[in-house]
Protein backbone atom coordinates (compact mmCIF):
# COMPACT_ATOMS: atom_id res chain seq x y z
CA UNK A 1 0.00 0.00 0.00
CA UNK A 2 1.25 3.50 -0.74
CA UNK A 3 -0.38 6.80 -0.05
CA UNK A 4 -0.76 9.20 -2.98
CA UNK A 5 -1.59 12.74 -2.03
CA UNK A 6 -0.86 14.74 -5.19
CA UNK A 7 -4.27 13.89 -6.73
CA UNK A 8 -5.85 15.79 -3.89
CA UNK A 9 -3.91 19.04 -4.31
CA UNK A 10 -6.39 20.61 -6.83
CA UNK A 11 -9.17 20.04 -4.32
CA UNK A 12 -7.54 21.96 -1.46
CA UNK A 13 -9.68 25.12 -1.99
CA UNK A 14 -12.79 22.95 -1.86
CA UNK A 15 -11.66 21.40 1.42
CA UNK A 16 -10.82 24.80 2.88
CA UNK A 17 -14.23 26.20 1.94
CA UNK A 18 -15.76 23.17 3.69
CA UNK A 19 -13.66 23.86 6.75
CA UNK A 20 -14.81 27.50 6.70
CA UNK A 21 -18.47 26.39 6.69
CA UNK A 22 -17.79 23.99 9.58
CA UNK A 23 -16.11 26.73 11.62
CA UNK A 24 -18.88 29.20 10.75
CA UNK A 25 -21.59 26.77 11.92
CA UNK A 26 -19.60 25.97 15.06
CA UNK A 27 -19.08 29.60 16.07
CA UNK A 28 -22.66 30.74 15.35
CA UNK A 29 -24.22 27.72 17.08
CA UNK A 30 -21.92 28.04 20.08
CA UNK A 31 -22.76 31.74 20.57
CA UNK A 32 -26.50 31.27 19.99
CA UNK A 33 -26.54 28.03 22.00
CA UNK A 34 -24.78 29.70 24.93
CA UNK A 35 -27.39 32.46 25.08
CA UNK A 36 -30.19 29.90 24.73
CA UNK A 37 -28.60 27.67 27.36
CA UNK A 38 -28.22 30.50 29.86
CA UNK A 39 -31.87 31.42 29.33
CA UNK A 40 -33.04 27.81 29.79
CA UNK A 41 -30.84 27.38 32.88
CA UNK A 42 -32.51 30.47 34.37
CA UNK A 43 -35.94 29.02 33.54
CA UNK A 44 -34.98 25.77 35.20
CA UNK A 45 -33.83 27.43 38.40
CA UNK A 46 -36.77 29.87 38.57
CA UNK A 47 -39.54 29.59 41.14
CA UNK A 48 -42.26 29.52 38.48
CA UNK A 49 -43.51 25.92 38.07
CA UNK A 50 -44.42 26.27 34.39
CA UNK A 51 -41.04 27.76 33.43
CA UNK A 52 -39.26 25.05 35.38
CA UNK A 53 -41.29 22.31 33.70
CA UNK A 54 -40.67 23.78 30.23
CA UNK A 55 -36.94 24.10 30.89
CA UNK A 56 -36.77 20.54 32.16
CA UNK A 57 -38.82 19.13 29.27
CA UNK A 58 -36.64 20.91 26.70
CA UNK A 59 -33.39 19.67 28.26
CA UNK A 60 -34.56 16.06 28.64
CA UNK A 61 -36.16 15.85 25.19
CA UNK A 62 -33.08 17.19 23.40
CA UNK A 63 -30.48 15.36 25.46
CA UNK A 64 -32.18 11.98 25.04
CA UNK A 65 -32.54 12.01 21.25
CA UNK A 66 -29.75 11.95 18.62
CA UNK A 67 -28.73 15.13 16.81
CA UNK A 68 -29.14 13.36 13.48
CA UNK A 69 -32.82 12.60 14.17
CA UNK A 70 -33.37 16.18 15.32
CA UNK A 71 -31.88 17.46 12.07
CA UNK A 72 -34.02 15.02 10.05
CA UNK A 73 -37.18 16.22 11.79
CA UNK A 74 -36.23 19.84 11.13
CA UNK A 75 -35.00 19.42 7.56
CA UNK A 76 -37.49 16.91 6.15
CA UNK A 77 -40.29 17.78 8.56
CA UNK A 78 -40.40 21.47 7.67
CA UNK A 79 -40.21 20.44 4.03
CA UNK A 80 -43.29 18.28 4.52
CA UNK A 81 -45.12 21.25 6.05
CA UNK A 82 -44.31 23.21 2.89
CA UNK A 83 -41.64 25.41 4.45
CA UNK A 84 -38.57 25.47 2.24
CA UNK A 85 -35.54 25.46 4.52
CA UNK A 86 -31.93 25.34 3.32
CA UNK A 87 -29.47 22.83 4.76
CA UNK A 88 -27.47 25.72 6.27
CA UNK A 89 -30.46 27.11 8.16
CA UNK A 90 -31.57 23.64 9.31
CA UNK A 91 -28.05 23.01 10.59
CA UNK A 92 -27.80 26.41 12.30
CA UNK A 93 -31.22 26.08 13.96
CA UNK A 94 -30.96 22.36 14.74
CA UNK A 95 -27.45 22.42 16.18
CA UNK A 96 -28.23 25.57 18.19
CA UNK A 97 -31.31 23.93 19.72
CA UNK A 98 -29.27 20.80 20.45
CA UNK A 99 -26.35 22.75 21.88
CA UNK A 100 -28.66 24.89 24.03
CA UNK A 101 -29.79 21.86 26.04
CA UNK A 102 -26.20 20.88 26.84
CA UNK A 103 -25.04 24.42 27.70
CA UNK A 104 -28.15 24.81 29.86
CA UNK A 105 -27.02 21.90 32.03
CA UNK A 106 -23.51 23.37 32.17
CA UNK A 107 -24.85 26.77 33.26
CA UNK A 108 -27.22 25.20 35.78
CA UNK A 109 -24.21 23.58 37.44
CA UNK A 110 -22.30 26.88 37.20
CA UNK A 111 -25.15 28.91 38.69
CA UNK A 112 -25.71 26.50 41.57
CA UNK A 113 -21.99 26.60 42.39
CA UNK A 114 -22.23 30.33 43.24
CA UNK A 115 -22.34 30.64 47.05
CA UNK A 116 -25.61 31.82 48.55
CA UNK A 117 -23.76 34.57 50.40
CA UNK A 118 -23.20 36.39 47.10
CA UNK A 119 -26.98 36.58 46.49
CA UNK A 120 -27.47 37.89 50.00
CA UNK A 121 -24.61 40.36 49.68
CA UNK A 122 -26.21 41.66 46.48
CA UNK A 123 -29.60 42.19 48.08
CA UNK A 124 -27.95 43.77 51.13
CA UNK A 125 -26.51 46.37 48.75
CA UNK A 126 -30.08 47.09 47.60
CA UNK A 127 -29.71 45.53 44.14
CA UNK A 128 -32.76 44.10 42.43
CA UNK A 129 -32.77 40.56 41.03
CA UNK A 130 -31.62 41.51 37.54
CA UNK A 131 -28.78 43.61 38.93
CA UNK A 132 -27.66 40.82 41.25
CA UNK A 133 -27.60 38.41 38.34
CA UNK A 134 -25.82 40.80 35.99
CA UNK A 135 -23.22 42.24 38.39
CA UNK A 136 -22.68 39.56 41.05
CA UNK A 137 -23.67 36.07 39.89
CA UNK A 138 -22.87 35.95 36.18
CA UNK A 139 -19.07 36.25 36.32
CA UNK A 140 -18.28 33.52 38.90
CA UNK A 141 -20.91 31.21 37.35
CA UNK A 142 -19.33 31.72 33.95
CA UNK A 143 -15.88 30.98 35.32
CA UNK A 144 -17.05 27.68 36.82
CA UNK A 145 -18.83 26.77 33.60
CA UNK A 146 -15.95 27.72 31.30
CA UNK A 147 -13.98 24.42 31.13
CA UNK A 148 -17.18 22.48 30.44
CA UNK A 149 -18.15 25.05 27.79
CA UNK A 150 -14.78 24.54 26.08
CA UNK A 151 -15.43 20.82 26.05
CA UNK A 152 -18.87 21.45 24.60
CA UNK A 153 -17.39 23.69 21.89
CA UNK A 154 -15.12 20.88 20.72
CA UNK A 155 -17.94 18.31 20.78
CA UNK A 156 -20.06 20.79 18.83
CA UNK A 157 -17.32 21.25 16.22
CA UNK A 158 -16.94 17.49 15.82
CA UNK A 159 -20.69 16.90 15.69
CA UNK A 160 -21.24 19.66 13.15
CA UNK A 161 -20.01 16.95 10.73
CA UNK A 162 -23.45 15.36 11.12
CA UNK A 163 -24.88 18.26 9.09
CA UNK A 164 -23.15 16.76 6.02
CA UNK A 165 -25.90 14.12 6.04
CA UNK A 166 -28.53 16.79 5.33
CA UNK A 167 -26.18 17.96 2.52
CA UNK A 168 -24.70 21.02 4.17
CA UNK A 169 -21.45 21.63 2.27
CA UNK A 170 -19.15 21.58 5.29
CA UNK A 171 -15.86 19.76 5.76
CA UNK A 172 -17.14 16.18 5.92
CA UNK A 173 -19.40 16.79 2.92
CA UNK A 174 -16.46 18.12 0.89
CA UNK A 175 -14.30 15.22 2.07
CA UNK A 176 -16.86 12.75 0.72
CA UNK A 177 -17.13 14.82 -2.43
CA UNK A 178 -13.39 14.73 -3.08
CA UNK A 179 -13.40 11.03 -2.22
CA UNK A 180 -15.90 10.28 -4.99
CA UNK A 181 -13.94 12.41 -7.46
CA UNK A 182 -10.46 11.05 -6.74
CA UNK A 183 -11.13 7.60 -5.20
CA UNK A 184 -8.26 8.33 -2.79
CA UNK A 185 -10.35 7.10 0.12
CA UNK A 186 -7.67 6.40 2.68
CA UNK A 187 -5.69 9.58 2.00
CA UNK A 188 -8.68 11.89 2.10
CA UNK A 189 -10.08 10.39 5.30
CA UNK A 190 -6.66 10.81 6.90
CA UNK A 191 -6.63 14.46 5.81
CA UNK A 192 -10.10 14.85 7.35
CA UNK A 193 -8.87 13.36 10.62
CA UNK A 194 -5.85 15.68 10.66
CA UNK A 195 -7.96 18.78 9.91
CA UNK A 196 -10.54 17.98 12.59
CA UNK A 197 -7.90 17.03 15.12
CA UNK A 198 -5.84 20.13 14.37
CA UNK A 199 -8.80 22.47 14.68
CA UNK A 200 -10.00 20.96 17.94
CA UNK A 201 -6.46 21.25 19.35
CA UNK A 202 -6.41 24.92 18.33
CA UNK A 203 -9.77 25.40 20.07
CA UNK A 204 -8.40 23.89 23.28
CA UNK A 205 -5.31 26.10 23.09
CA UNK A 206 -7.30 29.28 22.38
CA UNK A 207 -9.82 28.70 25.14
CA UNK A 208 -7.08 27.94 27.68
CA UNK A 209 -5.33 31.16 26.69
CA UNK A 210 -8.61 33.05 26.94
CA UNK A 211 -9.39 31.58 30.37
CA UNK A 212 -5.99 32.76 31.59
CA UNK A 213 -6.59 36.28 30.29
CA UNK A 214 -10.21 36.71 31.33
CA UNK A 215 -10.42 34.89 34.66
CA UNK A 216 -7.55 36.56 36.47
CA UNK A 217 -9.10 36.84 39.89
Amino acid sequence: MNLVFHDIIPYIPQLLSGLAVSLYVTVICMLAGTVLGLFVALCKSSKNVILRFLGNAYIELIRNTPLLVQLYILFFGLGQLGIDISPLWSALIGITINNGAYTAEIFRAGLSSVPKGLHEAGSALGMNKAQIFRHVILAPAFRTAFPALTNQLILLFLFSSVASIISLEELTYQIMNVETQTSRTLEITLIAAVLYYGCSSIFVYLSNAMAKKVFKW
Binding site: N64, V69, I73, V162, T189
Partner: protein, 219 residues
Protein backbone atom coordinates in the same frame (compact mmCIF):
# COMPACT_ATOMS: atom_id res chain seq x y z
CA UNK B 1 -46.38 2.94 -4.21
CA UNK B 2 -46.96 5.40 -1.40
CA UNK B 3 -48.32 3.99 1.82
CA UNK B 4 -49.98 5.98 4.56
CA UNK B 5 -48.11 6.04 7.84
CA UNK B 6 -49.84 3.59 10.14
CA UNK B 7 -49.20 1.33 13.09
CA UNK B 8 -47.70 -1.32 10.78
CA UNK B 9 -44.67 0.91 10.30
CA UNK B 10 -43.86 0.81 13.98
CA UNK B 11 -42.64 -2.79 13.52
CA UNK B 12 -39.57 -2.06 11.34
CA UNK B 13 -38.73 0.88 13.62
CA UNK B 14 -38.81 -1.38 16.67
CA UNK B 15 -36.67 -3.94 14.83
CA UNK B 16 -34.20 -1.13 14.14
CA UNK B 17 -34.29 -0.22 17.81
CA UNK B 18 -33.37 -3.79 18.74
CA UNK B 19 -30.42 -3.69 16.31
CA UNK B 20 -29.33 -0.34 17.77
CA UNK B 21 -29.37 -1.83 21.27
CA UNK B 22 -27.37 -4.89 20.15
CA UNK B 23 -24.90 -2.70 18.29
CA UNK B 24 -24.36 -0.45 21.30
CA UNK B 25 -24.09 -3.39 23.70
CA UNK B 26 -21.28 -5.02 21.72
CA UNK B 27 -19.56 -1.70 21.04
CA UNK B 28 -19.60 -0.87 24.74
CA UNK B 29 -18.26 -4.35 25.51
CA UNK B 30 -15.32 -4.12 23.09
CA UNK B 31 -14.90 -0.40 23.74
CA UNK B 32 -14.83 -1.16 27.46
CA UNK B 33 -12.02 -3.69 26.94
CA UNK B 34 -10.06 -1.13 24.90
CA UNK B 35 -10.86 1.48 27.54
CA UNK B 36 -9.56 -0.67 30.41
CA UNK B 37 -6.33 -1.33 28.53
CA UNK B 38 -5.95 2.40 27.75
CA UNK B 39 -6.85 3.41 31.29
CA UNK B 40 -4.26 1.04 32.73
CA UNK B 41 -1.75 2.25 30.16
CA UNK B 42 -2.37 5.91 30.92
CA UNK B 43 -1.93 5.39 34.66
CA UNK B 44 1.02 3.00 34.49
CA UNK B 45 4.62 3.94 35.24
CA UNK B 46 5.71 2.74 31.81
CA UNK B 47 6.46 5.83 29.68
CA UNK B 48 5.73 4.13 26.36
CA UNK B 49 2.34 2.82 27.52
CA UNK B 50 1.58 6.29 28.85
CA UNK B 51 2.37 8.04 25.58
CA UNK B 52 0.60 5.49 23.40
CA UNK B 53 -2.64 5.48 25.44
CA UNK B 54 -2.61 9.26 25.64
CA UNK B 55 -2.11 9.50 21.89
CA UNK B 56 -4.97 7.09 21.13
CA UNK B 57 -7.36 8.87 23.48
CA UNK B 58 -6.50 12.35 22.19
CA UNK B 59 -6.56 11.37 18.53
CA UNK B 60 -9.91 9.56 18.63
CA UNK B 61 -11.51 12.25 20.78
CA UNK B 62 -10.31 14.89 18.33
CA UNK B 63 -11.95 13.35 15.27
CA UNK B 64 -15.72 13.22 14.56
CA UNK B 65 -17.39 9.83 14.85
CA UNK B 66 -18.59 10.26 11.27
CA UNK B 67 -14.99 10.40 10.03
CA UNK B 68 -14.11 7.31 12.10
CA UNK B 69 -17.04 5.46 10.53
CA UNK B 70 -15.90 6.49 7.03
CA UNK B 71 -12.34 5.47 7.84
CA UNK B 72 -13.44 2.02 9.03
CA UNK B 73 -16.09 1.34 6.39
CA UNK B 74 -14.57 2.89 3.26
CA UNK B 75 -10.85 3.28 3.89
CA UNK B 76 -9.82 0.19 5.89
CA UNK B 77 -10.97 -2.32 3.23
CA UNK B 78 -8.59 -0.51 0.83
CA UNK B 79 -5.68 -1.83 2.93
CA UNK B 80 -6.63 -5.31 1.67
CA UNK B 81 -5.99 -7.12 4.93
CA UNK B 82 -8.42 -9.87 4.11
CA UNK B 83 -11.14 -9.11 6.65
CA UNK B 84 -14.72 -9.12 5.49
CA UNK B 85 -16.04 -5.65 6.28
CA UNK B 86 -19.77 -6.19 6.47
CA UNK B 87 -21.89 -3.23 7.55
CA UNK B 88 -22.53 -4.69 10.97
CA UNK B 89 -18.84 -5.48 11.50
CA UNK B 90 -17.78 -1.98 10.42
CA UNK B 91 -20.41 -0.40 12.64
CA UNK B 92 -19.31 -2.35 15.71
CA UNK B 93 -15.62 -1.76 14.92
CA UNK B 94 -16.03 2.00 14.44
CA UNK B 95 -18.16 2.44 17.56
CA UNK B 96 -15.75 0.26 19.59
CA UNK B 97 -12.75 2.34 18.52
CA UNK B 98 -14.72 5.47 19.40
CA UNK B 99 -16.05 4.11 22.72
CA UNK B 100 -12.56 2.86 23.63
CA UNK B 101 -11.14 6.38 23.77
CA UNK B 102 -13.95 7.76 25.92
CA UNK B 103 -14.02 4.71 28.20
CA UNK B 104 -10.23 4.94 28.47
CA UNK B 105 -10.55 8.49 29.75
CA UNK B 106 -13.25 7.40 32.23
CA UNK B 107 -11.18 4.45 33.50
CA UNK B 108 -8.10 6.66 33.83
CA UNK B 109 -10.12 9.15 35.87
CA UNK B 110 -11.50 6.34 38.02
CA UNK B 111 -8.09 4.85 38.78
CA UNK B 112 -6.62 8.27 39.55
CA UNK B 113 -9.49 9.03 41.94
CA UNK B 114 -8.31 6.22 44.21
CA UNK B 115 -6.03 7.82 46.85
CA UNK B 116 -2.34 7.18 46.34
CA UNK B 117 -2.01 5.70 49.80
CA UNK B 118 -4.12 2.74 48.69
CA UNK B 119 -1.58 1.85 45.99
CA UNK B 120 1.26 2.20 48.48
CA UNK B 121 -0.59 0.14 51.11
CA UNK B 122 -1.12 -2.67 48.58
CA UNK B 123 2.55 -2.54 47.63
CA UNK B 124 3.55 -2.56 51.31
CA UNK B 125 1.49 -5.74 51.78
CA UNK B 126 3.59 -7.36 49.07
CA UNK B 127 0.69 -7.74 46.64
CA UNK B 128 1.43 -8.45 43.00
CA UNK B 129 0.22 -6.01 40.30
CA UNK B 130 -2.78 -8.22 39.59
CA UNK B 131 -3.67 -8.70 43.27
CA UNK B 132 -3.37 -4.97 43.88
CA UNK B 133 -5.90 -4.17 41.17
CA UNK B 134 -8.17 -7.12 41.90
CA UNK B 135 -8.52 -6.54 45.65
CA UNK B 136 -7.72 -2.89 46.28
CA UNK B 137 -7.95 -0.56 43.31
CA UNK B 138 -10.80 -1.89 41.15
CA UNK B 139 -13.43 -2.13 43.93
CA UNK B 140 -12.78 1.50 44.82
CA UNK B 141 -12.35 2.80 41.27
CA UNK B 142 -15.66 1.25 40.11
CA UNK B 143 -17.75 3.84 41.92
CA UNK B 144 -16.02 6.54 39.87
CA UNK B 145 -16.23 4.55 36.64
CA UNK B 146 -19.80 3.22 36.59
CA UNK B 147 -21.80 6.51 36.69
CA UNK B 148 -19.91 8.23 33.84
CA UNK B 149 -19.74 4.86 32.06
CA UNK B 150 -23.53 4.64 32.01
CA UNK B 151 -23.67 8.26 30.91
CA UNK B 152 -21.36 7.42 28.04
CA UNK B 153 -23.44 4.36 27.11
CA UNK B 154 -26.48 6.62 26.77
CA UNK B 155 -24.45 9.03 24.62
CA UNK B 156 -23.26 6.05 22.55
CA UNK B 157 -26.86 4.99 21.83
CA UNK B 158 -27.51 8.46 20.41
CA UNK B 159 -24.20 8.63 18.57
CA UNK B 160 -24.80 5.19 17.04
CA UNK B 161 -27.47 6.86 14.88
CA UNK B 162 -24.57 7.89 12.62
CA UNK B 163 -23.96 4.31 11.45
CA UNK B 164 -27.21 4.66 9.50
CA UNK B 165 -25.26 6.51 6.79
CA UNK B 166 -23.26 3.41 5.84
CA UNK B 167 -26.59 1.64 5.40
CA UNK B 168 -26.69 -0.37 8.60
CA UNK B 169 -30.41 -0.71 9.40
CA UNK B 170 -30.43 0.71 12.91
CA UNK B 171 -33.22 2.72 14.50
CA UNK B 172 -32.47 5.89 12.52
CA UNK B 173 -32.09 4.07 9.20
CA UNK B 174 -35.35 2.20 9.82
CA UNK B 175 -37.00 5.58 10.35
CA UNK B 176 -35.48 6.85 7.10
CA UNK B 177 -36.79 3.81 5.21
CA UNK B 178 -40.28 4.26 6.66
CA UNK B 179 -40.11 7.97 5.88
CA UNK B 180 -39.21 7.26 2.25
CA UNK B 181 -41.97 4.66 2.04
CA UNK B 182 -44.73 6.82 3.48
CA UNK B 183 -43.54 10.32 2.50
CA UNK B 184 -44.29 11.25 6.07
CA UNK B 185 -40.95 12.22 7.65
CA UNK B 186 -42.56 14.06 10.57
CA UNK B 187 -44.45 11.01 11.85
CA UNK B 188 -41.59 8.60 11.10
CA UNK B 189 -38.86 10.60 12.76
CA UNK B 190 -41.02 11.62 15.69
CA UNK B 191 -41.64 7.93 16.38
CA UNK B 192 -37.90 7.27 16.03
CA UNK B 193 -37.12 10.15 18.38
CA UNK B 194 -39.71 8.83 20.85
CA UNK B 195 -38.08 5.37 20.82
CA UNK B 196 -34.63 6.90 21.41
CA UNK B 197 -36.10 8.99 24.19
CA UNK B 198 -37.69 6.00 25.90
CA UNK B 199 -34.43 4.02 25.73
CA UNK B 200 -32.12 6.83 26.85
CA UNK B 201 -34.40 8.46 29.40
CA UNK B 202 -35.36 5.08 30.87
CA UNK B 203 -31.74 4.06 31.08
CA UNK B 204 -30.66 7.28 32.77
CA UNK B 205 -33.49 7.07 35.32
CA UNK B 206 -32.67 3.40 36.01
CA UNK B 207 -29.01 4.30 36.41
CA UNK B 208 -29.93 7.10 38.80
CA UNK B 209 -31.82 4.74 41.12
CA UNK B 210 -29.15 2.06 40.77
CA UNK B 211 -26.44 4.51 41.78
CA UNK B 212 -28.40 5.79 44.76
CA UNK B 213 -29.26 2.27 45.86
CA UNK B 214 -25.88 0.56 45.52
CA UNK B 215 -22.96 2.86 44.92
CA UNK B 216 -23.25 5.16 47.93
CA UNK B 217 -22.97 2.32 50.43
CA UNK B 218 -19.67 1.37 48.84
CA UNK B 219 -18.07 4.72 49.45
Amino acid sequence: MIQDFSWIHIIPILKGAWLTIQLCFFSLLFGGVIGVILGLGATSKNKLANVLSGLYIRLVRGVPLLVIIFLVYFALPMLDIGINFSKGFSAVLALSVYAGAYMGEIVRGGIQSVPKGQFEAADALGMSYFQKFRHVIVPQALQYIIPPGIGFFIALIKDSSLVSIIGYIDLTKAGKVVSNLTFNPIASFLVVAAVYFVICFGLSKAAYYFERRFLQTNA
